[in-house]
Subunit: 406 residues, 2 copies
């Protein structure tokens, strides 16, 4: 949580942290800016002090929403510095030298936020050489902002719940939309007698999201049949919606608050083949088995182990047995969820993953079984939250039903 930042900095021996870049696709920056609707910025936080936000001159008004002490970047007259140095890299180093002098930043300084890789390498190498009074630090894995973000406070959980509620509505309304169609030759047909296509359903889902202020900023999955058998296949626009085929519907929209939700349901319209019925039951039971393991202190990787063991025992291939398998359980059991769709905690089953489940964690559990050759895929995904007392809550209220009558 945000209140842990000073302790996390102390544990890492950091005197200050800098988080910068554009806000788009940069959740740690959005986090420190408390979701202020700005396009970019530099946030500097010294240990034990409130972060300072150095904002774009044309965003002085929006910057206020951060609630942070503000410094207008115009004060540094960057174009003048650029004129003096004649080089953008040298100018940026000089800009930071001035900012650090003004804010009294010294010692061990951690750098975070999304930027071009080669550019960051050049900049931090040059800064390190130009400013002997600071030591440039980075973190490769589980960085302090990711760790702080991983445990959500009550306000953040309330925002995630809002998106959860609207996301469930969108899924229900999508089913209502499908049910409104007539059936001919085992295929849904539209008013003009042509088959309803996956592309038309995608369009309808985007409309349902927009009406609720949700954005599918990283896409969505509504895939049928063999396509549903490939975990990240988004669905082919021209595919007709046929009865008796598995539809994997995986939706991960972002709400106006910046927080994401993530939900997957699998269903068949009209009826389900017996093979799919069995697979669906196995996935649903696996989901329950994994959820039953969730409690504070349990190793995160244990959830991946439980899922793999569960499916292996029922005779399915898993990535634990064959990392290249495209049949059976072929992916991770879940991921943290917040200002990014994929964030801490990470559930990878490797010895170096020593993460344990903690109060405040919000994460998905999403077992799935796939067989593209046999034309199906089944995935079910709920979102869990461990509250401050350690109680586990399922934030996904939508029921799970394989067969949707039409």
């Amino acid at each position: 949580m945000k209140r842990d930042l000073d302790a996390l900095m102390e544990a890492r021996g950091l005197d200050a942290v800098v988080v910068s870049g554009r806000t788009h696709g940069n959740p740690s920056l959005v986090y420190l800016l408390n979701g202020a609707p700005v396009s970019q910025g530099i946030v500097v936080k010294k240990r034990g002090e409130t972060p300072v936000f150095i904002h774009s001159p044309i965003e002085w008004d929006e910057a206020k929403a951060s609630g942070l002490p503000l410094v207008n970047m115009a004060r540094y007259r960057f174009t003048d510095i650029l004129r003096e140095t004649g080089d953008r890299l040298a100018a940026t180093v000089e800009l930071y030298r001035r900012i650090f002098a003004d804010l009294g930043v010294r010692g061990e300084v951690g750098f975070y936020g999304m930027a071009d890789q080669g550019q960051s390498y050049l900049f931090l190498t040059a800064l390190s050489q130009a400013m002997p009074e600071i030591r440039v630090r980075g973190e490769y894995d589980e960085n302090l902002l990711e760790v702080a973000r991983a445990t959500k406070d009550a306000d953040e959980v309330a925002r995630i719940r809002e998106v959860a509620c609207l996301t469930c509505e969108v899924v229900e309304e999508t089913l209502t939309f499908l049910r409104r169609h007539r059936v001919r030759d085992e295929t849904l047909i539209t008013g003009d007698g042509s088959p309803l296509t996956v592309g038309q359903v995608h369009r309808q889902i985007y409309r349902l999201l927009a009406e609720r202020g949700l954005e599918a900023s990283e896409g969505l999955i509504f895939a049928i049949g063999a396509d549903a058998g490939v975990p990240h296949n988004h669905g082919r626009p021209d595919d007709p919606i046929r009865l008796g085929q598995t539809v994997v519907y995986d939706i991960y929209p972002r709400g106006p608050s910046g927080y994401f939700f993530d939900l997957t349901r699998t269903f068949c319209l009209g009826y389900a083949p017996p093979e799919v019925e069995k697979v669906y039951r196995d996935v649903a039971e696996c989901l329950e088995a994994v959820i039953a393991e969730v409690q504070v202190g349990v190793e995160a990787r244990r959830l991946q182990q439980v899922a793999c063991a569960f499916f292996a025992e029922r005779g399915y291939p898993t990535i634990a047995g064959d990392p290249e398998t495209a049949v059976g359980f072929t992916h991770g059991i879940g991921h943290g969820l917040g200002l990014a769709i994929h964030e801490e905690p990470v559930f990878t089953d490797v010895p170096s993953n020593t993460r344990t489940l903690q109060p405040g964690h919000v994460f998905t559990v999403e077992p799935g079984l796939y067989d593209p050759g046999r034309g199906y895929g089944v995935r079910l995904e709920d979102v869990l939250w461990i509250d401050e007392s350690g109680q586990v809550h399922n934030l996904t209220t939508l029921p799970k039903t394989l067969v949707v009558e039409v």
Copy 2:
């Protein structure tokens, strides 16, 4: 253009480039992947050779859309490497060592793509130490992918035109929506007699975008009155829509192809105050004056100079005179547009900006005048394209009209 990549690599003395990361918010990766609908990847291109795409195991199907030779990341058994090294940084270095060995990558290697800054610094420093047979290279400014992306080929321009056409439709439909409302006390009112608000208009715009497959992935601006006087103010949801006030409507959606468009119009409903009429005329004439300067070989910074000189001569403050001004012309004259909203060319007026306008460039021209204290802002924005023969095309077909009758 993509076909220039080998020449750009040669000019920089690069033997190979690596572009990696998640695709979200990572336009150079999306560019090399030809828009394939994957979530992440590593692309390695040796000079004179086709790029190779090392893709996620669960995206083997979507990866095909890149049209590139594919390598399944599962082949490298990363979790086994992680087990051996016990550390994610060391494991990633080892992964790259194996990839480079397989692909015969040696010499000068440039690294690109969005990632956490401190993480990139650690990774590239460690890789540099672990692999003496390569030299790690980055670029701070105008990197080769940005330069390649800046000049669009015919196919890219066709995609931008598609988004342009749909974006113009959305703006026209928004005006139709506004006109459908009755007026009471100089305020638009809804069917139930309550004032129409900026928030309701935002919602309607998102619906219009969704119906056309467009995403406002970085937001949109529909701001009225004093809010319109602050360039990046998105509009306050509770503000009522009143007659005679400037509305700045700036919309920058992304189409399904991944390409953006960017369009700004300013209007007043019912009537415009004389002061606003004059300011609007000055902005419209500035836009024409800047467009008249556009031709191949002209320095990009010249457009910024022309706009500042134009406004200064008519008595307005500009950032050329006062970098901190919040009144007058307070921002840049434009920016390149493509797979990112802001990309090359850059128009900043500094001596180090030696960019010149080139065939294939697609960029905005967006003069504006603001006075939040007097409650208005006016901005007009068109998108220009310089074709291969050097002819300049205005891709924004929407007319400019200050007063919208209601």
